[in-house]
């Protein structure tokens, strides 16, 4: 799918300041053709600003934006081959659906008949056949979203930019639309940048995710990378819930490729595959996702990597039970799936739980 030699879009040392406030600091990234890259990060971290820089709506302070080999940093939006779907959709209220979609084509002086054909094609693409004559007020929020998408795709841009396109929709529709956007994007193979602050949305739609905070890229990688091997505590906490367990690497066994780690609550061993940069005597955090932990009653037989604790609280949620475990002076959250077929624990029960060997660890410093 991707073309490693020549990225479709490249950001080189992009910086942006508003007055004295430096919002983006030396952002560099490259996006291969056909990829869907998502920008995530907390509110105000500069996602919109970065997207608007690519679209040409915000002037760059320094750095380069390279589209398909050409530096477009100085071009106004109407001369760039990038098209944006605005968060507010920005549909023209005085034109009907058809006119909105055909707006850019008409500006290019395309003959009327060809515009009509292309608009029909696009209406079909976004499943809006037959609704072309409707005015903007007379279609639903989800449909407005589709029109905005079709309008941006009409001009066959090299890069499609979407700024929180789903945030005006209600929860169910949001899921439907994100799947639809993804399927259209894959079908026509368009390079896409998608901004969201919803981590689940980012995980489920992206080829790669770019995590932004404090004006710098925290990490860029596939959803699996980001979730399973986050580079720092901020990323780990930003995508999903996480338990941190402090520990220290005591030794490394060459044959089994296992680290032995001591924690306040007992010793665990750790695979090297997920943790290549660690060395003996490092102080670390174990990054333990609630769903990776297995829970057992206190009288069950001992297994490797087993620690003990006491149930402090439990919350039944149908498909899973969320347990809060007291382990020394620390609380650990554990999700037990499919509770129907397993033991349900009550408050005060003594239990044991296992930490997987594949668990990811972060160095405490640096």
């Amino acid at each position: 799918m991707s073309n490693k030699e020549k990225p479709m879009l490249e950001l080189v040392d992009v910086s942006k300041s508003f007055g004295d406030v430096e919002v983006l600091k030396n952002i560099s990234a490259s996006v291969p053709k056909g990829e869907l890259l998502t920008f995530v990060g907390p509110s105000g971290c500069g996602k919109t600003t970065l997207l608007r820089i690519i679209g040409g709506f915000t002037a760059i302070s320094s750095g380069q934006v390279i589209l398909d080999g050409e530096d477009i940093g100085a071009l106004p939006p109407n001369m760039r081959d990038t098209k944006m779907v605005f968060q507010s959709y920005a549909l023209f209220p005085h034109m009907n659906v058809r006119k909105n979609i055909g707006f850019g084509l008409k500006l290019q002086k395309m003959p009327k008949a060809k515009i009509d054909d292309r608009v029909d094609e696009l209406l079909a693409l976004v499943h809006m056949d037959g609704l072309g004559e409707r005015t903007i007020e007379r279609i639903s929020g989800g449909q407005q979203q589709r029109v905005a998408l079709a309008r941006s795709l009409a001009l066959e841009p090299k890069v499609l930019l979407l700024d929180e396109p789903l945030s005006n929709l209600d929860a169910n529709l949001r899921v439907v639309m994100r799947e639809e956007i993804r399927s259209i994007q894959e079908r026509i193979g368009i390079t896409t940048i998608f901004v969201t602050h919803d981590q689940y949305e980012a995980m489920s739609i992206s080829d790669r995710i770019l995590v932004l905070n404090d004006g710098i890229i925290q990490q860029i990688g596939t959803p699996t990378d980001i979730y399973e091997t986050p580079k720092n505590k901020f990323i780990a906490e930003f995508v999903g819930y996480v338990n941190f367990l402090e520990g220290k690497i005591e030794s490394f066994d060459q044959d089994s490729e296992l680290y032995s780690v001591s924690t306040e609550h007992g010793n665990v061993s750790l695979n090297r595959t997920n943790n290549k940069d660690l060395a003996v005597a490092d102080e670390i955090y174990l990054v333990i996702r609630p769903e990776t932990v297995m829970i057992f009653s206190s009288d069950s037989e001992d297994l490797p990597n087993m620690l003990t604790g006491e149930i402090q609280d439990s919350m039944y949620a149908g498909n899973l039970v969320k347990y809060t475990i007291r382990c020394g002076d620390r609380e650990i959250l554990i999700d037990q799936y499919n509770p129907k077929d397993s033991i349900k624990f009550k408050r005060g029960d003594k239990i044991k739980f296992t930490v997987p060997k594949s668990v990811h660890a972060l160095p405490k410093k640096g």
């Binding site: 919109t48 939006p77 209220p93 005085h94 707006f103």
Partner: protein, 558 residues
């Protein structure tokens, strides 16, 4: 409530009256206000209408026939329409250029341009006649300086004065729509490949068109109703408003004056209805969801050049016009004999006129504010039919040409049962009722902000209607009351077209004094009186602004 529950005690007369008052007081007030509106707004108009059909021998259409036979009369009508239309076109273009610059242009230019476009608000419209005569009159500064022979007593003069006078009206309405457009729409069009010119043509103007249309209609109404500028600069060109005045003062022909008034009133009323009931709420909602912060972008050089070509001469004229008034007030004759004198400022007659105007404006303001506040309350909280008619009546004074109401007042109140002619009361009532609109609208918007539940809660706690009114409603509506007061005060100060029919010799008002001195070519005296008036108006505007800031009341935009 508690007392009523006792039930078996025979109800005393007093108790019954209290219940009646409690449940019907709003309607009692409404009835009273209805009568007042009928007498002081509708009745004079009816008189005008009747008089246009009622000769010495009863009903006749001869006056209308006369109107259509003598070309002097129908030219007066046609000229007025031409004046209205040309000023309207000019101001739509100029207003749009100013508004585009103040909403899309460079930051540093926005505030100065805005101030300039709004400056004419703080002076009466006819100030521009005085300045234009000072600049371009027979002995005008610019004519003399460049050796020109330009005649300001002409179409050009009248249109220029009108355009300068009503620039703020057009600017404010167009700026308002341009400001409230979702910036993403223009960005999105640009993203689709549109140039700035294409964006203006296909996005900005179509979206602003409801606001532009409203601005155009308002400018049209205000221009055709304006008395001062065409009267002073019109020379021999007939226009309806000044002709109505001449018809009465010159020829004493009330029938023909009424015909002219009806002819002037009809387009105004049509537009008023159009404006309030057809265009109301029309417009595009362009902001959905979270709008993003937008950094201002450069305007394309070609467009910028065009905008500046339109804006620059207007800015120069506005500034020059105000400058010559201020200078004119303190020198012997501007441009001819520039020695500093106090004579104009200290002129006794002028000061007396200002004093009279302030006195009149205070009374009209007070009266208008009381009536306006009560009207707002009754319209919002009353439960009777015809509330909308009442609202329309209250707001219509604003759209009716002053000359028409002036003519109506002389005819309606010169004999019993309403013998008011020659007293100050006819002036007070005239001004109070014509300028009700702002007080009423401010009151209504205030009442919109508070839930009726506050009143119901107080009633539930045992307060009767009068107590609720005094303790709860009045404090809440006080800011609307003050806004109505200041606005009526200010407009009464400047208003000329109606009061000129009603003043008696010996009781000069500032506006009339300025008009008469300007007519006589006493520009120094006219300028000095105008400077004092501007000062008073500025104080009023500042208080309105302060009031708006303190209470969150938006009223200064009217």
């Amino acid at each position: 409530m508690a007392e009523a529950a006792i039930g078996n005690t025979p109800w005393s007369m007093w108790y019954k009256i209290r219940i009646f008052i409690n449940t019907h007081l709003v309607n009692i007030f409404a009835g009273g206000l209805f009568v007042l509106l009928a007498i002081f707004l509708v009745f004079p108009l009816v008189m005008v209408f009747l008089k246009s059909f009622w000769g010495d021998d009863g009903f006749t259409t001869t006056f209308y026939q006369e109107f259509f036979t003598y070309n002097y009369y129908y030219w007066s009508f046609l000229n007025t329409m031409i004046l209205g239309l040309s000023t309207m076109f000019i101001l739509v273009v100029v207003g749009f250029c100013f508004a585009y610059m103040t909403t899309r242009g460079p930051m540093w230019l926005r505030t100065p341009l805005k101030i300039c476009a709004l400056m004419p608000l703080c002076a009466p419209p006819y100030i521009f006649s005085i300045s234009l005569i000072t600049l371009f009159g027979r002995n005008g500064m610019i004519n003399n300086f460049f050796g020109l022979d330009f005649n300001i007593y002409s179409w050009t003069g009248v249109i220029a004065a009108q355009a300068l006078a009503f620039l703020p009206l057009s600017f404010m309405m167009i700026e308002n729509v341009l400001n409230s457009q979702n910036p993403s729409l223009e960005e999105s069009a640009s993203d689709m490949g549109a140039s700035e010119m294409q964006i203006i043509r296909s996005i900005t103007i179509p979206l602003a068109s409801p606001g532009i249309l409203k601005a155009a209609l308002l400018v049209f109404v205000m221009t055709i109703a304006e008395f001062g500028n065409p009267a002073i600069l019109g020379g021999r060109i007939p226009f309806l408003a000044p002709d109505t005045y001449l018809m009465i003062t010159g020829e004493g022909d009330f029938n023909m004056a009424s015909v002219l008034s009806v002819v002037l009133m009809v387009p105004c009323l049509i537009i008023f209805v159009l404006h309030n009931y057809i265009l109301k709420g029309k417009g595009y909602t362009t902001i959905v969801g979270k709008p993003t912060a937008v950094d201002p972008k450069e305007i394309t050089p070609v467009i910028k050049t065009f905008l500046l070509a339109v804006i620059t001469p207007v800015v120069i004229m506005v500034v020059l016009c105000f400058a010559v008034i201020f200078i004119g007030a303190f020198v012997k004759i501007v441009g001819v004999d520039n020695t500093f004198v106090w004579d104009h400022m200290l002129n006794m007659q002028s000061n007396e006129a200002i004093y009279n105007s302030v006195k009149l404006s205070l009374m009209a303001g007070l009266f208008g504010a009381i009536v306006g506040t009560l009207l707002a309350y009754v319209i919002m909280r009353g439960k009777f039919k015809g509330r909308h008619v009442m609202e329309m009546m209250a707001l219509s004074g604003f759209a009716l040409p002053g000359t028409v109401i002036g003519v109506g007042y002389i005819m309606a109140f010169n004999k019993p049962p309403f013998l008011l002619a020659g007293t100050i009361w006819i002036l007070i009532l005239n001004c109070a009722f014509r300028f009700l609109a702002v007080g009423v609208e401010a009151g209504i918007s205030k009442l919109h902000q508070i839930s009726i539940e506050i009143e119901e809660a107080s009633a539930d706690l045992g307060a009767d209607f009068i107590t609720v009114f005094i303790k709860v409603i009045l404090p809440i509506m006080f800011s609307a009351f003050v806004a109505g007061f200041i606005y009526t005060f200010m407009t009464t100060m400047m208003s000329l077209s109606s009061v000129i029919f009603l003043v008696t010799p010996g009781f000069d008002l500032a506006a009339v004094y300025i008009y008469l001195t300007a007519q006589l070519g006493e520009l120094g005296l006219a300028s000095a009186a105008t400077v004092k008036m501007i000062f008073i108006v500025l104080v009023c505007l500042a208080s309105l602004k302060l009031l708006a800031k303190k209470t969150g009341l938006k009223s200064e935009k009217k």
